[in-house]
Amino acid sequence: MRRRGLFSRTALVVGLVFLYVPIVSMIVYSFNNSRLVTVWDAAHSPTLKWYGVLLSDNEVLDAAWLSLRVAICAATASTILGTLAGTALARFGAFRGRSLLVGMTTAPIVMPEVISGLSLLLLFVALQQAIGWPQGMGAVTITLAHISFCMAYVTVVVQSRLAGFDESLEEAAQDLGARPAKVFWRITLPLILPAVLAGWLLAFTLSWDDLVISQFVAGPGSSTLPMVIFSKVRLGVSPDVNALATLMVSVVASGVVVAAVWMRHRQKRRERDAQLAAAANL
């Protein structure tokens, strides 16, 4: 028993090192003055040179702005659609078309991206021919394409959160005469709010990060950030990409720290409230 515990723990440590070495190496080399990975130019490092190169690169900045706009729109729309779908799947029992909805919300998660990208582009081309919309490929088509695969993730997150609650609260509200819409706004939504927020963040990240689907549905002249990065790194290592990676990792890491502190704070407050309530009952 003990020996197997040792084996799995060793595997865990080795696995975590495997997961983090590449990320750490990018952060370290983003401060290296030399273009070469193996040469640590100790005389001139650490340096912020590559950060300067990155932030004065208009192509990168334009692409980042486009990616940001697309990700915010796609995350918001997919969160609304995904919350509706998750609620339907978790709360409506058996209804006609349920298995179709289940299939359509799980398949996009595993669907190879080249297939999603190709099929969406062919849809947009067909729509253009048939009704003259969307006019040209760009931010609009990228956003529409992102909504579809992001909402699948939101659906799963919301659905599993709802599956964790029994329906007694909602039923109680209904028995007390609340209309279904009111039950949703006053009871269900507050309960699933953490999942909805997590779903939005996940959708934002997925959209911000997507390369393959964007490459299919982006017309000439509209490049998202991953598309610009991809064209840079296809030619090999470029140190300003390390700087970009470091910035992105910092944002995510600080977000996680803030979320962890906030959750601990909430937990503590809840415990204190519970204690107070218990004391008052005595």
């Binding site: 028993m1 197997r4 515990g5 799995s8 595997a11 865990l12 975590l16 997961l19 983090y20 590449p22 990320i23 190496s25 990018m26 080399y29 990975v37 193996t38 659609l81 995904g82 509706l84 779908a85 339907a88 409506f92 078309g97 909805l101 289940v102 359509m104 799980t106 398949a107 595993v110 190879p112 991206e113 080249v114 297939i115 190709l118 969406l120 062919l122 849809l123 081309v125 021919q129 909504i147 579809s148 909402m151 599956a163 279904p180 819409a181 990240t205 911000w208 990060d209 393959v212 299919f216 991953p226 990065i229 790194v233 090999g236 290592v237 990676a245 992105m248 995510v252 996680v256 962890a260």
Partner: protein, 305 residues
């Protein structure tokens, strides 16, 4: 009186429900289901130099429909050994990567599931965290580690283990490293969700009855974790078959995967029917795994409730 009250309420709820389920269903029908039908349609049409570069399936001549179903795209895919080889290579790469993810991910998930509560959430966060940072950048990081003048060769040279840089990049090795690295969390999370629910009393009972740890693992833990293994393996296998970014950045140049083939066919050769045919063939290989995945997820969800 009460009866009438109910009559008034039920239809309203009914229509609200229809809206809640109907809006996302409509969206997915338009942006997920219909596109596949279009891909299917174009895979049977004839390529031509036009915008869009394919011929319509049905043309109208003297008021009568004339079907123009062409199997040329598919014939091409089955006769040119390049496609078949790439297809088989992709399935093999996906299968081997899935196996490696399982071998590495299982002990990791096991250790997390057996860790104390305080450690468990921290370790889970460490597993999920890379998922929140750019996938593309994490794959790119491996170029810096694996290239001829990269970090790994440098360390090996300094240690005197090798005397000339070893070619690691653009090999099967670097491809597997990239895929296993990127998809490992998809294996660990469902495995953890399964292992965490196991009743430790069963293992204790096995030990009390004299089972050695390995026997107890093989006879108790492993069979119980099969749903987790299935979910994780399918979550890795299905997207890997059509993987595009990792093989393009880290994989061999003399043997490309089928996802890259589709993209090249579409963007470089501008042959939409053949690209659509490739998509349909990839989907055919994935229909069974996708259906299996939905079964596994459904039964996992039911046991959770």
């Amino acid at each position: 009186m009460e009866q009438r009250e109910q009559d008034r309420v039920v239809p309203r709820r009914f229509s609200a429900r229809r809206l809640v389920a109907g809006i996302p269903a409509l969206w997915l029908t338009v942006f997920f289901l219909v596109p596949f039908l279009i891909v299917l349609k174009i895979s049977f049409s004839e390529a031509r130099l036009a915008i869009p570069p394919y011929a319509p399936l049905i043309t109208w001549r003297h008021g009568l429909p004339v079907p123009g179903i062409h199997l040329a795209g598919y014939a091409y895919l089955f006769t040119d050994p390049l496609y078949l080889r790439s297809y088989l290579y992709s399935v093999m790469v996906a299968a081997v990567s899935t196996l490696f993810c399982l071998l590495i991910g299982y002990p990791m998930a096991y250790a997390i599931a057996r860790a104390s509560d305080a450690w468990r959430s921290f370790l889970l966060m460490l597993i999920v965290l890379p998922f929140w940072t750019s996938f593309l950048l994490r794959v790119y990081a491996w170029i810096g580690l694996l290239q001829n003048d990269g970090l790994i060769n440098d360390v090996l040279l300094r240690l005197g283990l090798i005397h000339h840089p070893v070619t690691l990049l653009q090999t099967d090795f670097s491809l597997y490293v990239g895929i296993v690295y990127s998809y490992l969390p998809f294996m660990i999370l469902p495995l953890y969700a399964n292992l965490e629910k196991h009743d430790m009393a069963l293992l204790e009972a096995a030990a009390d009855l004299g089972a050695r740890p390995l026997t107890a693992f093989l006879r108790v833990t492993l069979p119980q974790s099969l749903p987790g293994i299935a979910a994780g393996s399918l979550l890795v296998f299905i997207p890997t078959v059509g993987e595009y970014v990792i093989p393009t950045l880290l994989g061999r140049t003399d043997q490309i995967m089928i996802g890259r083939m589709l993209s090249d066919e579409f963007f470089d050769n501008r042959d939409w029917p053949v690209a659509s045919g490739v998509a349909i063939l990839i989907l055919l290989a994935l229909v069974v795994p996708i259906v299996l995945l939905q079964r596994v997820e459904r039964s996992n969800l039911e046991t959770a409730e």
